[in-house]
Amino acid sequence: MAAPALNHIGLARDSYKGVASTLCAGCGHNSITNHVIKALYELGVEPHLLAKMSGIGCSSKTPAYFVERAHGFNGVHGRMPSLTTGAQLANRKLIMLGVSGDGDTASIGLGQFMHMIRRNVDCTYIVEDNGTYGLTKGQFSATADVGSVQKKGTVNAFLPIDPCAVALTLGCSFVARSFSGDGKQLVPLLKAALAHRGTAVLDVISPCVTFNDHDGSTKSYAYIKDHEEELQDVSFIPYFEEIEVDYEPGTTTDVRLHDGSHLRLHKLAQDHDPSDRLGAIRLLEEGRSRGQLVTGLVYLDETMEDFATREHLPERPLHSLGEAELRPSREEFDALMGSLA
């Protein structure tokens, strides 16, 4: 048997595996899990530095299904952003990877999601978006499209809350959309999100085969395949690899990320500048009114400071600071007491 291929930190793909999934066979979330594993493996992320965060839902169970060697935290419904924020502040070295569902993010969790973005907490936030509450058996979530039909026939009357559009409104520093079935696009986007320092929101349409994959659903495999409009061919060149020029000039945008990696965007049908926020909003709106799902890198701002940087926190984990660094000296303390007398 051939030795397994090792990544640049010397780990095999197996080191990024988790426990066996208990999701339904065919669930989009399972595909995303595989793409996450691939991205982490290829990127050579240190498992012990990874922190896997989630809320509650089928999607939120998935952090158990990848990188068993990383710490994970499956919190409460809709509140993963605050847990992630706290953990990031406590230890800036951690690579925060959050997985949430559309119910978890856009219904109960909308406020926290938005405030995390506003702070530009350094994390990757994946919305495994199936337009439904999988774990509670198929009610509409807030990302369900108006007119989408539930299994039992109910028609959704409300406009969807689009995590990407909301993120853009807030000036989120990294916004992308993808599809669980499109690893070719999703894996490089995931890598870029992980390399990005700041909040990276990835809305990944991920069909729920059990409750939302029927005719009339706008989040079914069939519907997405028919309505996806890819913005770019995305490729990711990690900082430890050399950049090869392989596209004709003018057709490609190259973005340098914080860690020195590069994201290369080869434009397809539409011409979109991912540094143009207003253009990005228009892009999504127009896609929606055409009934199309625009995927790819929607917006990226590498200049924005992330939260921990803005807070001037040390690079060392805060738990490594001892009494000497955290307590004022006896002299300072005595002076303080004197001033209170």
Partner: protein
């Protein structure tokens, strides 16, 4: 009649937003600088400007810190409450008032000192922008005159009130002198009923500080590195003070690096979530809030209990239910917090009764949270937290942090990676954890609020669930012994005992001396933590009747104690409750106690 010396209650009735607060501080600091014990209480509205506010300053040689009902000296500067304020003073009180307020048909058993404050301010204060503010200093001068406070003390009070603004000293001094002069020119002939005289020995190494300030300093000394909060009265000043101390003690001026993160969250759910996330990742993390915020923290508190994550939560209690009276004090969250969250959740609760304990217990809280890997609540209240209290100087901590059972890379090497997050290897029901980021292939585990086994794996096994719940119950028992023990003061001959907690202490201490003078001795046990100490049983057993005194309607501590007692002792307990939002007075304890003592059980 000779005037009483160093024994009086002063009250200023003003309008909020008018700047009387600093005048009151000047007076307080001035008197304190004479070596005279003071006890200030601020009664303010849930409003920014224009509503009645009262400042009470008690002076006793005993150093009593409790509120007292009726003032001996009143400064009346609020026309809206003038009559009502007047009703409340003692017979013989000195009433300094705006000279335009009518005293016709008013009480005749008090001394009136009308002062034309507005006119004096207009004619004597030059500074237009500060006039409104400085008008208040005029009454400080008048009061100094009335009570024979030397003007140097007022000057000292000004310097101590504005230590960082020497530029403001002169203007304040001038304003105070207007009042001082006015007194001497108009009322000096008047017979005095109260005077203040410098003292020595009583305030040595005493300081004045607020409980929330003490708690914030405790967080600094306790090694807190992440704080997340959402503004709410009366808890805001915990984190605001923390931020101020952090600027002083946690900021590397050279690099700009901060050794603490203080986040104003978007609400209380997020605030506690951030603190829990940080606690999970190894930081000493806290949040602080009041009433409504506690309700909003219920779900996350249950997560931290069940997933066993250290976190410290300050609840500076105000009066509920619901929004209630946001600027009035209460001890009404006790029972709710003890079992905060659905299911069989139970928490560790610390109950500081003095500002020194606010400081000390803040540190203890971080140690207990790390040691028992669980939320630790610190229950203070508006009275303790937002009023200035006289206190012995705080002590520099002698012990290092107790970070609890954390396995490092080296530990894991030694164990060859064999460990279980929820395995009770030491028999104390407290298990080992690792921190995210620990560089070892077997360091990681998965944290969740759903069912888990000893290796932190997901399970729905009934047996695993029940075993884990039993261990959590045992952990609470381990913790019980580690909580701060009650403070007990027994009186040899006493047949009766009093149990109280928190800020009620000041009133109990005073009532105890009052009743002793009236020939009624009682022993006193002050509860300082939940779960309750087993020693409580001995205390109850040693006395025939026990009065549980607390500041809530439903007798929450009374109930909690009854549940812990052997049944034959339960009948000894009686409940005294005070719940109108004002800090309890000694009198409002001793009166019902005497009444109840007159009634056979």
């Amino acid at each position: 009649m000779l005037p009483t010396v160093n024994d009086l209650t002063f009250q200023a009735a003003t309008v909020n937003g008018s700047g009387s607060q600093s005048a009151n501080m000047v007076l307080t600091r001035a008197i304190f600088s004479l070596g005279i014990p003071v006890a200030p209480k601020n009664v303010f509205p849930s409003n920014i400007e224009g509503l009645p506010t009262w400042y009470q300053l008690r002076v006793t040689t005993q150093g009593y810190q409790a509120r007292k009902g009726d003032p001996d000296v009143l400064v009346a500067l609020n026309p809206a409450t003038w009559r009502q304020d007047l009703e409340q003073v003692r017979p013989g009180a000195a009433v300094i008032h705006q000279h335009l307020y009518s005293t016709a048909d008013a009480r005749t058993d008090v001394d009136y000192f009308p002062v034309p404050f507005t006119k004096l301010a207009k004619t004597e204060i030059q500074n237009d922008t500060l006039r409104k503010q400085l008008t208040n200093l005029i009454y400080v001068g008048v009061v100094a005159g009335l009570l024979e406070v030397p003007f140097e003390a007022i000057q000292e009070g000004i310097r101590r009130t504005f230590p960082t603004k020497p530029g403001a000293w002169q203007a304040n001094e001038d304003a105070a002198r207007i009042g001082f002069k006015y007194w001497h020119e108009n009322f000096s002939a008047h017979e005095r009923r109260h005077v203040l005289r410098p003292l020595t020995g009583l305030t040595d190494s005493q300081i004045l500080l607020e409980g929330n300030q003490a708690a914030a300093l405790g967080c600094i000394m306790g090694g807190c590195t992440v704080a997340a909060w959402y503004p709410i009265t009366p808890s805001s000043s915990v984190c605001e003070n923390l931020a101020a101390y952090a600027d002083r003690y946690r900021l590397d001026k050279a690099t700009g690096e901060r050794r603490i993160a203080i986040v104003q969250a978007e609400d209380e759910l997020a605030a506690l979530g951030m603190a829990i996330g940080a606690g999970w990742a190894g930081a000493r993390a806290m949040t602080s809030t009041s009433g409504p915020g506690i309700s909003l923290m219920a779900e996350f508190s249950g997560l931290a209990y069940y997933a066993e994550i250290p976190v410290v939560i300050f609840d500076i209690q105000r009066i509920g239910p619901s929004t209630g009276l946001p600027t009035r004090t209460s001890q009404g969250d006790l029972a709710f917090i003890y079992t905060l969250s659905h299911g069989d959740t139970k928490h560790l609760v610390l109950l500081p009764g003095t500002v020194a304990e606010c400081y000390e217990f803040a540190q203890t809280a971080f140690d207990l949270a790390d040691r028992f890997q669980t939320p630790v609540f610190v229950l203070s209240d508006l009275d303790l937290g937002m009023n200035l209290w006289m206190s012995p100087q705080l002590q520099y901590p002698e012990r290092p942090f107790d970070r609890g059972k954390v396995l490092t890379k080296d530990d894991l090497d030694r164990l060859e990676g064999e460990w279980g997050r929820y395995q009770d290897v030491d028999g104390d029901a407290v298990t080992y954890r690792t921190l995210p980021g620990t560089e070892h292939a077997r360091a990681a585990y998965f944290t969740r609020g759903s069912g888990h086994d000893e290796l932190a794996r997901y399970t729905e096994s009934p047996e695993a669930y029940a075993a884990n719940m039993d261990r959590l119950a045992r952990k609470l028992e381990t913790a019980r012994a580690a909580m701060p023990a009650p403070v007990v003061e027994t009186a040899d001959s006493a047949q009766i005992g009093v149990i109280a907690f928190g800020s009620t202490d000041a009133a109990v201490v005073e009532a105890r001396e009052d009743l002793r003078e009236q020939g009624l001795e009682f022993s006193y046990l002050r509860v300082r933590a939940l779960p309750l100490s087993p020693s409580l049983v001995d205390f109850v057993a040693a006395h025939e009747r026990i009065y549980v005194i607390e500041q809530n309607r439903d007798g929450q501590l009374y109930d909690l104690i009854r549940l812990e007692l052997p049944s034959q002792l339960v009948g000894r307990l009686r409940s005294i409750r005070h719940y109108d939002g004002r800090p309890v007075t000694a009198e409002s304890l001793s009166r019902p106690l005497l009444e109840l003592e007159a009634v056979p059980v």
